[in-house]
Symmetry: C2
Subunit: 347 residues, 2 copies
DNA sequence: TTGTAGGCGTTATCAA
DNA sequence: TTGATAACGCCTACAA
């Protein structure tokens, strides 16, 4: 049977009030009473009922976490960082996969509202999320990660996607490529949109005109990326290089190219996005943009906790934290790699 | 301001009781009242307070999920499956990383008990977990995944690790290897223990004596695996093959071998455990044991929900669901791979 | 069919 | 310094 405060009080021979005070940190209790209470609580193995506590205090010490796919190492690394910060501060995480599905997202938001989460970290699926907006307006501390949202007055922790994509494509152009394809994520999301902008900008700055036939959408998932890759290599005049906009799609593209005996980078150069541990292990090793996923998670959670704590209902201005991804040059683009000491080309 | 039942009742012009009944499924309400209530609720945007509801009903529709590392694709795939089943049934997941740390595990268990989770799915860190035992005795539905626990009378969904490890090592022996190293996980966990048993059995059945110098522990993490790999290749008489007991450690081993220009499989054959998407993309592609991680997650959650629902306090007998991993032969062991049609060796 | 009222386990006010 | 007692928002037995 579950022990309650009443049991502790009886065991300690004091009133419920004193028992509550003895265990908590508020109000007056004599040292003597406190010790009695503590001893009694330990003796009977009392664990406070947080549900009851939450009903009274309106705090749950729970943070909602909405991401699109827990199977993607990019999200996973952030989740890990978030969890670490949350745990250190006595908060727990309710994890939800939105699957890039807006309805699912809304359904989850309602559930989380019902569960009275203290704060929310979300990689939002789209721009229109009236319910999310309502939550923010209602005063729920919300941090947007990975995806930006226009007109939502809250903190956003993201990566400079346009910069990253532009770096990626410029790298290809520097290596002599002119027909450059792109397998992008969902265009509804800002990473999708911004990475496409970066791609366009790199082309424009180098006077290469945009060829719509070379632009594919992969939804950030493997199946669509496979399909897109197949389409690209089957073109009568295929690209000589592809910018693939996240780690999951890189796997799909590599699979398809290998299955079709298209040599990387000789016949097709590849730049990716994200830098998981296996990126240097695949053949050829992947040239890619490394995103500071761990930092994003850490910062997002820290800012969230800060906001939960001060809980000033002051109207928040937009606050944007934007981190830069970094180009990691390996072999999938055929760039010469120089030994840092001898300056001789290793590859 | 948050709306309550009282607001709905006022809006609909009925009592709180009727409002509650109209929204829920209990008791009598006239069709007319129900409609009024429903309309009123929608109009004012009422979302029930699950905390209050939980206090009364003692149900939270929340499942605790304890795993050691959310960054490991093996766990992640299970989590994904669990989340899918949970979501379909109206349950949410509280995610906790134990980091293979028993104290952290116990701390989390206490928190989850306080939060009154309806059930728990856990990849336990060790054999002794008095608190977990207490929870099970107290009637909390618990499913053990990945790791078995002796003397805990509940359902366990695991993989036949000994079988898998034995398959892996036998494959190496079949290819002529005699000095076979192993980089194992934490020996406190059953996967660690059982995979080692499988390793030993394969050697024994082939009259190869166990050489303790070839047995390393990598804790299922990358750093320790790197260290173990370094030690193995630096031996005066190094092994010709290594069985690496999970996907994360495979990455560490590959890194070290590549850094030291040890050719796989010519100078060192590798068999792994787990079959992530990148396993076929790394160079050389990985021969490994594929575990049905998605099925484990699905089954674990289904069984848990079933148990939550019937909630018979009947003493549970141990129930073990054991799935078999499957050897996927690729190139990291140097096995000849035959074309399924021509029967000619491809490699 | 509807409404009143008590209680779930806490916290916190206020009087003793 | 302590202890009744009234919330928190919901469910539900019981009376009307």
């Amino acid at each position: 049977m579950r022990k309650t405060l009443k049991d502790v009080a009886r065991e300690a021979g004091v009133s419920i009030t004193v028992a509550s005070r003895g265990l908590g940190s508020y109000g007056y209790v004599s040292r003597e009473s406190r010790e009695k209470v503590l001893r009694a609580a330990k003796k009977i193995g009392y664990q406070p009922d947080q549900i009851a506590k939450s009903l009274k205090t309106q705090q749950t010490y729970t943070i909602g976490l909405l991401i699109s796919d827990i199977t993607n190492i990019w999200f996973t690394t952030m989740v890990r960082a978030i969890e670490d910060v949350a745990e250190q501060n006595g908060y727990n995480l309710i994890l939800c996969n939105t699957d890039e599905n807006q309805e699912k997202e809304t359904r989850y938001l309602k559930v989380l509202y019902g569960k009275k989460i203290d704060g929310l970290i979300i990689a939002a699926t789209g721009e229109k999320s009236p319910y999310l907006k309502k939550l923010i307006r209602g005063g729920l501390p919300v941090i947007l990660i990975d995806r930006k949202l226009k007109g939502f007055h809250t903190t956003q922790v993201t990566v400079d996607n346009e910069f990253g994509a532009c770096e990626a494509v410029k790298h290809l152009i520097d290596l002599g490529h002119k027909r450059i394809g792109v397998i992008n994520g969902h265009p509804r999301t800002t990473p999708g949109k911004e990475r496409f902008e970066g791609y366009k900008r790199a082309l424009a700055e180098n006077n290469i005109s945009l060829n719509p036939a070379l632009v594919k959408y992969g939804d950030f998932r493997i199946e669509k990326a496979r399909k897109a890759s197949q389409e690209l290599i089957k073109m009568k005049n295929p690209p000589t290089a592809i910018f693939v906009a996240n780690n999951v799609m890189v796997m799909g593209t590599y699979q398809v190219l290998k299955e079709n005996n298209v040599r990387i980078p000789e016949e097709m150069a590849i730049v990716g996005f994200d830098d998981p541990e296996w990126a240097s292990l695949i053949e050829p090793s992947l040239t890619t943009l490394r995103q500071p996923s761990h930092s994003i998670g850490t910062m997002a959670c820290q800012v969230l906790l800060q906001r939960i704590r001060k809980n000033e209902r002051k109207r928040l201005q937009d606050e944007e934290i934007v981190l830069r991804p970094k180009l990691i040059i390996r072999k999938s683009c055929g760039a010469k790699i120089f030994d840092s000491v001898s300056q001789k080309a290793i590859v």
